[in-house]
Amino acid sequence: MRALRSIYLALFALYLIGPILVIAAVSFNAKKFLAFPPRGFSFRWYAEVFVANDWFTALKNSLFVAFASASLSVLIALPVAYFAWRYGLRYAKALLALGVAPFILPPVIMALAFLLFFTGIGVNGLMINVIIAHAIFLLALPLVTISLGLESVDTALIEASQTMGASNAVVFRTVILPIAAPFAFAGFAFCFVLSLNEYIIALMTVGFSVETLPIKIFNALRYGYTPVIASIAVIFMVINIVIFALIARFSNLARILGAME
């Protein structure tokens, strides 16, 4: 029984991590052609990401879009989650449900919707388009994490501070914000990572004018193999791991993911 469990766990880990390890190995290949096990060892494909103008521009675009859309998304989500929780406003709750919807639908539906919308109003291919589109598409993440954070605020604390004469603004700043902030950060980080990796919405909003990394990678894939993609996969995996490790460090990862305290 124990042996069976160990074999299963080993196979599962191999299946999950194996492909990533192969990509990592390929990314250190010294030669331009695809080979595994790698021939020689070199960092040149990593250097290429930062030296080659087109790859570096795509990386900068992606990071900027991810940062801006995650910030925007948190700004939109914060009042909705706050008013729904604090005053139980039915309107805020409806808004919350509406805000979660885009994330549940297959992304291509929202991508097409944004394409129709932006061509409809005649604003084509601006970077702000994809920033707004990602902020709306990923809105569910800060909405859910901030709501979770607010639920963990003890209402007795709020009543106590109000009895002591604190105004709403002071209560928000000194009681609610410190408890909810890590969860808002988690929402921001989730948004950031998913925006960074998102392809179809970026393609349909700005695909022909602004190249984000996933778009650039897909275009490169169609013209054949380049080891730069492997090094980007490794860089992205590292970015993802660092950000989720930060969430785990500053906020309660298991709780955000639905475990009990």
């Binding site: 999950l16 097409l112 996969a233 990862l253």
Partner: protein, 279 residues
Amino acid sequence: MQTSALSRYIGLIPSSVMIGAFFVIPFVLILLTSVSTPTDDGGYATSFDLQHFERFLTWFYIERALFSAGLCALIAVLSLLIAYPFTYFLTNFPPRTQTYWLIYILAQLSLSEVLIAFSWQILLSRTAGVANILVWIGVIEKSFAMTPSAGAVVAALVYLTVPFSVLLLFPALSRLDKSLIEASRTLGASPLRTFFTVVVPVTRPAIISGGVTVFVLTLGAIIVPQVLGKPEHWTLSVLITDQAIFNFNMPFASALAVVLLVLSATVIWLVTKFSGKKA
């Protein structure tokens, strides 16, 4: 001091405007475009024209829709089968180990579908793929490329969805009352028997809602079928992209999107109805 009711609503104005302008309006645009009429200059005009849905009702597109649904159902089942035992073991790991695994799983889950498709392309290639391992252990004589094929699409899609399955099952399994397991063990049931007669039945709602979510998620996959499959493995999502980006046929793309929307909504509705518990 109470904030006046009015000021609470004022605080919600910016968010309402953003959600209204950039979700509700674009969404309504899809519905309107799907029933619009093409004009002579290549555009389309608002009307109530069902010709794009009629075009969908040809065997080619019906077959694509059925194929998409079948593929997604297969992926959902495989993905849950692989992820379930792991998630069960995961919830019994020490907290620190649990966190490390969760971080890794989240990191892989967030990895762009483009990169997942790329890594499986390499994994299944002739020069660097698993076929070389088979040559090495002597199963086959010469390495060969395993893409494009249906098997490659399935393997990569399962790989894409397993992390989601783990996270979807995680809440139910980590909240599972451990005394149930102890009771079953004390009464003499083997661990395996306990697993199948206690753990699995108790977490049934999570399994069903997880399956639905993976199904809808796979419906959205766009790159894996294109990169690893032949055109006959393309799903509705790929066809929508193809119509919108390469054929500039917005009305037909919108009609297909409405079909995809109805398909996802029906599955979600059916399953939540019959499982008797909300996802």
